[in-house]
Amino acid sequence: MTSVLDPGALSAQAPPRPEPLAPFADVTRSDAAVRAFLHGLPGVDQVGAEARVAVLGSRSIKTTAKAWAIDTAISMVDLTTLEGADTPGKVRSLAAKARRPDPGDPTTPPVAAVCVYGDLASVAKQALEGTAIKVAAVATAFPSGRASRAVKLADVRDAVAGGADEIDMVIDRGAFLAGRHLDVYDEIVAVKEACGDAHLKVILETGELVTLDAVRRASWLAMLAGGDFIKTSTGKVSPAATLPVCLVMMEAVRDFRAVTGRQVGVKPAGGIRTTKDAVKHLVLVNEVAGPDWLSPDWFRFGASSLLNDLLLQRQKLRTGHYSGPDHVTID
């Protein structure tokens, strides 16, 4: 690990660019080319996007469809703890909850992944041994992303060495907003390489990108650079995942697959707390990108309190009466 921080190693470390995707071979040739491409993307009609999510959000999902939606949403949850006060014990208890979210009902599906800081990835890995539940680790100086590239890559390698199956990286929003798109692209490429076999989720932090146009550009940039998932937010900035943002990102992955044939997943994170919110997102996924994305391989919820609300709703459907917060774990 120290060799990465050695200045000598740094200069030798310009990663070879991978073969760009065929239709976009020229796009990442220079900063000007990237900018021309990204700004050539059609603008987002913000009013239209808000109207569309409002209409989709008003759909009534009841009975068997609701039961399906709740179980699907549970299986898509990245159960997350990203606090300064996290301990191995907290991660282990979270892992126990991930395996069996509702101990009173063994038919409840397990969640998709447990998302922790990189230094706790090995604890999570150990606690989840023998299950299909993935370990996701945030890296690259999460949540601000303000560190040198060498430190960010070391952060990634450390998390991968700890057993992380998925890496959640943050983009350099400062560089992106300043128009240094190629820097952002190169960084994602370098992180992807450092990930090895681990899946890479690219956090755009849409709350700091401000406009939906910027969200669309950042989504394309992350997909061009090889991200396996694009993720809305760190959860540390408000606003986090909103439905219009998710709509734009779902459109981006749909269009990207149409052109390149490569499918990229989407993960809204932060601010999704209720079953109703989750169901609205699932409707959006189905209507915008299509049912191909309705699986934990292609769509995730980054959340902690959402799971409890899903479990309460599940208990309500099962027993026929309302449940209460005494009947789920606190964390």
Binding site: H321, S323, G324, P325, D326
Partner: protein
């Protein structure tokens, strides 16, 4: 001749300090004792009851932790604001219950006095119901009354204000939060009480008032896992046993309905305070 257009009223619920319409969008007509139209009231659904329980649970931590003195002050302030609405209460009680003006005034006076009386009880419960217990060992041993939690109240069907105050105020005085289903035929004094509560110092969510049918909403509240106690005073007589059975599923405190609606003007004593209080006993080593 007054040719001013009448302002027709459609009242709403009182949940979490706000006045939402029923989630179901339903309303029903409220008539006076002779069957003349008075106003429209919201007809609460089970989802309104669910939202009200969430609000009451959210408000419980702060209200139950407020000092008894503070709770007494807040409740006394409610009585003050009620006094300011005296005329309105009298009109609504007279119309709804078919009482003469003087008897309606007596009922409203009694209701406000009852509220003041319960406001005075907040800081006396500890001394009257708790105390130091003599134990065979070197310990100080104290018993203290603590609030039960979220209480669902099916308010009396006939006495629309005095009865309502008589079941609601003791729940609050002990430090509980309440979800109240008001009298179905006579909800207007309860609606006005909601306006009183919203403009006094009672924190949002401590009292939630649902106008509608206790027979419809009652079972959802009785079965709700996050409701700690249920007062069945205003439950339909035929449904009471079933409601008790439903409440047993989550081990609730249950106040059974009286055989018929009592005379609310009588001195209630502590009979409505103690059902919603739990006794906590603390053992403390005496030292040397």
């Amino acid at each position: 001749m007054n040719d001013r257009l009448a302002v027709r009223k459609t009242y709403k619920l009182y949940v979490n300090g706000a006045f939402p319409r029923s989630e179901s969008g339903r309303t029903y007509e409220v008539t006076d004792a002779k069957g003349h139209f008075l106003a429209n009231a919201a007809r609460a659904s089970r989802k309104d009851a669910r939202d009200a329980v969430v609000a009451a649970r959210g408000a419980f931590a702060k209200w139950s932790a407020a000092t008894a003195y503070n709770r007494g002050q807040v409740l006394y302030r409610v009585a003050e604001v009620m006094e300011g609405r005296h005329v309105q209460f009298c009109e609504e009680v007279a119309a709804g219950e078919g009482l003469s003006q003087s008897r309606a005034r007596a009922a409203v006076d009694a209701a406000i006095d009852r509220w003041v009386w319960y406001a005075g009880w907040t800081d006396k419960l500890g001394a009257v119901l708790g105390g130091a217990n003599p134990v065979a060992g070197p310990y100080f041993d104290f018993s203290l009354p603590e609030p039960t939690g979220v209480v669902a109240v099916l308010a009396p069907q006939r006495s629309s204000l005095l009865g309502l105050v008589s079941v609601l105020a003791p729940v609050l005085a002990g430090g509980n939060t309440a979800v109240v289903v008001t009298s179905h035929q006579r909800p207007l004094p309860a609606v006005t009480l909601g306006e009183v509560l919203a403009t006094s110092d009672v924190p949002a969510g401590v009292v939630n008032l649902l106008t509608g049918d206790a027979g419809e909403i009652g079972p959802w509240l009785a079965e709700h896992d996050d409701v700690d106690a249920v007062d069945l005073t205003g439950a339909p007589a035929a449904r009471a046993l079933e409601l008790e059975r439903q409440a047993a599923g989550s081990i609730k405190r249950v106040v059974r309905p009286p055989a018929e609606e009592p005379d609310w003007a009588a001195d209630p004593g502590l009979s409505r305070l103690t059902p919603f209080l739990e006794t906590k006993t603390v053992w403390h080593p005496m030292g040397l």
